[in-house]
Symmetry: C2
Subunit: 484 residues, 2 copies
Amino acid sequence: MFSGIYRTIAYVNGLFCLYLALAMVAPMTVDYIDDNEDWEGFLGSLFIVGAVSAALILANRGQFAPFSLRLGILLVSSLWVSTSLVAALPFLLGTREISFTDAMFEAVSGMTTTGATVLSGLDDMPRGLLLWRATTQWLGGIGIVAMGVLVLPALRIGGMQFFRMESSERSDKPVARIRIFAGWLIGIYSALTLVCMVLYAVGGMSWFDALAHSMTTISTAGFSTHDTSFGQYGDMVLATAIIFMLIGAMPFTAFILGLIAGSYRRGFDSQISILIVIVAVLMVPAFLTAHGSGSFTPPDALLHSLFNVVSIVTTTGFTTTDYTKWGHLSAGVFLVALFVGGCAGSTAGGFKTYRLIILFQTLRVSIRELVYPSGVFPVYYNGKRISPEALQSVTTFFFAYVAILFGFTVAMSATGLDLVTAFTGTLATLSNVGPALGDVIGPAGHFGSLSDTAKWMLIMLMFLGRLEIMTILVLLSPLFWRGG
Amino acid sequence: MFSGIYRTIAYVNGLFCLYLALAMVAPMTVDYIDDNEDWEGFLGSLFIVGAVSAALILANRGQFAPFSLRLGILLVSSLWVSTSLVAALPFLLGTREISFTDAMFEAVSGMTTTGATVLSGLDDMPRGLLLWRATTQWLGGIGIVAMGVLVLPALRIGGMQFFRMESSERSDKPVARIRIFAGWLIGIYSALTLVCMVLYAVGGMSWFDALAHSMTTISTAGFSTHDTSFGQYGDMVLATAIIFMLIGAMPFTAFILGLIAGSYRRGFDSQISILIVIVAVLMVPAFLTAHGSGSFTPPDALLHSLFNVVSIVTTTGFTTTDYTKWGHLSAGVFLVALFVGGCAGSTAGGFKTYRLIILFQTLRVSIRELVYPSGVFPVYYNGKRISPEALQSVTTFFFAYVAILFGFTVAMSATGLDLVTAFTGTLATLSNVGPALGDVIGPAGHFGSLSDTAKWMLIMLMFLGRLEIMTILVLLSPLFWRGG
């Protein structure tokens, strides 16, 4: 049906959509057992996607096109769009009357592991739909790790070239290597999810809630089965969530995989320590405000401030309470938390800590160069000298990030939103966090009341954030489409 | 009294403070004629500053130390602090009971040409004090142009090295050159002020108001003699202000001086055109919101949106009306306007347009490099290739700017301010604009109700912005103080 790289792209899209459709069997079964008519929506989606996917796969079988920039960019961006369309189908075909915009918002928020939701009344929602939401985030999380380790470094997106695994640089048997990689990734990811689920259940969650929340914890994604998110759970559950959100935001999977592939590098260390440092630094004012609000005992203030700071910094987006009501300082703290993000090679989004480290190093070097004008001082990351090209990738990424943040804030305010909602809504979706600040889309609100225009802008921002911005900017450049 | 560079620094500080004290004669005379007791405060200030300055000058006369990084950095930063202290005296010693914090805030806002004010009831204020406020901004404006043309390029601060005049690179007779430069600068600056004053008076202002406003227009500074700023004036006055605010934000003075010194460079062109483009682009949504608010006829909506956009983009800070009440979109538009800033070598503050041009060029080049991984594409500014070091100055400056913006937002919110006030107050002072957004310190408010802690943070931000951030960061670095 297609030729050249488009044949490969169509084939891989068909394959991934088929896998995603097969994942509908579980929520369909749950709804069937629950005697809930939504199971028919899943069955319909399964048939539609199955037919289209099978057609795509069969019509485009054959030799893969060799890996190229164009293939990589088109593959990752088309995959996120096509799987989001598939993920939206059960929302559209279910008994709940969900509009196309809302279905797409929820699906994109799922697949990109953002966790912003337009749905309320989650506690009364069919369990199949709740499980489907968790499934999209769990699978999205795997996709992100795979993309971050296999595709983005090769594309040199936003300084991701630092995380190129040695194995991915050798071109012998790439498909076999990807298969081995995928196997280990899914195994480790599933094992972590299982441990998290058991701990949740031991902590007092129902088994269903434990499953759904463990899937959206390890993927630092943030969909809950309750409108109050983690508000009703006890200390053990909160502590478990804190640990597994942090694991999800660390390059843990890539780290283990690096060990297995025999290409362990020290490259991930300072990302991890800086993530811990950032959480600790933000914790202090968060704890003081939580404690000062008078709503908590000191241990509770500690637990709740730690939970919510970790949740936002790791771009998960679970909440236990409306922390914006603690005091004005908490708004400032969580604004910064919305920016930070997790580590490269993790399931987390956001600006990412390694970029912050590099920018701070560059600032230090610049001050040094001002003091010693005749000297030239290289920038180091993890003891390795950074090439000027890689440095430029990071600084450019930072500019693109901030420019998009301010540009979309203007566009969002044009839809009639106040400044806090427009600005933090843009930031929370671009960072793939989920809850923003303010009364409308803050920790106590949801995105349902926004206009369709605003929702589509946020959908665009979730894709931009997930695809590390530059992937989409390249796609929008005429240069990309010119020539062979 | 002092030795080495500190001798030169003490001497120059004494000289500048003495000049500033002599400038008190005019407002003192006005207050004396008005039969207002504040003239005694000016006389007292004049005596105190005169005595201290004379002592500094006499004790530290002699050969100037040769220009060095340390001398340049210490000179510009100490000059802004010492002249601000001098500027604060008449506020402290006057009949109005102004606290030390408020006096310093008003003085720093004057000398840095920010235009944020803690004072209200301006319409009933002694004319001497109003003239003094305008005088600090007018002199501050001269200082900024001189610093931007003579000192910062040689220090390579934030990419300012692009604006090094050829004459300043030759070291023969530097003092004579500075004298010639200063003469021309003061002449052209005074002539522009005079033309602006006459046009204001013709447009309907009293001669006193015309003088005070012309001094704070050409310096893109923003102090007014009315609480309503330009709210009460007619079309002719507003049109005049628009033109002279734009002139003040352009490298006009430096441009003419470059011609005179025989070192005309094309270097300033694209700054100017981009400034016009940015104003035009922001005008469209501002006009639509102003028109949509129903408060204006279409021509009035055009005039008021143009006036306020130009005022904020040029970092002047005059207002005609509370534009934040036009609609949510206007908040977004003016948030971006608060960021932009004017041209290098002008009286304007802010991020500055040439840096935006360079960052956008870098982004374009980065996209090109992603598409053609084997190519290396230089970044050009005004047709001239930018060295990697200069590029790094600009990207680092951007990071420092945004980091300070977010960092101070947290600190400001800790003083009990809401997010909009904390964030835009930080931005409006760091950009040396003046009015921020929100109800407290927006176009209809003033900074008087903030806590002393918040005011001192904003004072710090005004200095940071005025000294192009890096000057102060270098000063805070232990490296700077180490060794000879």
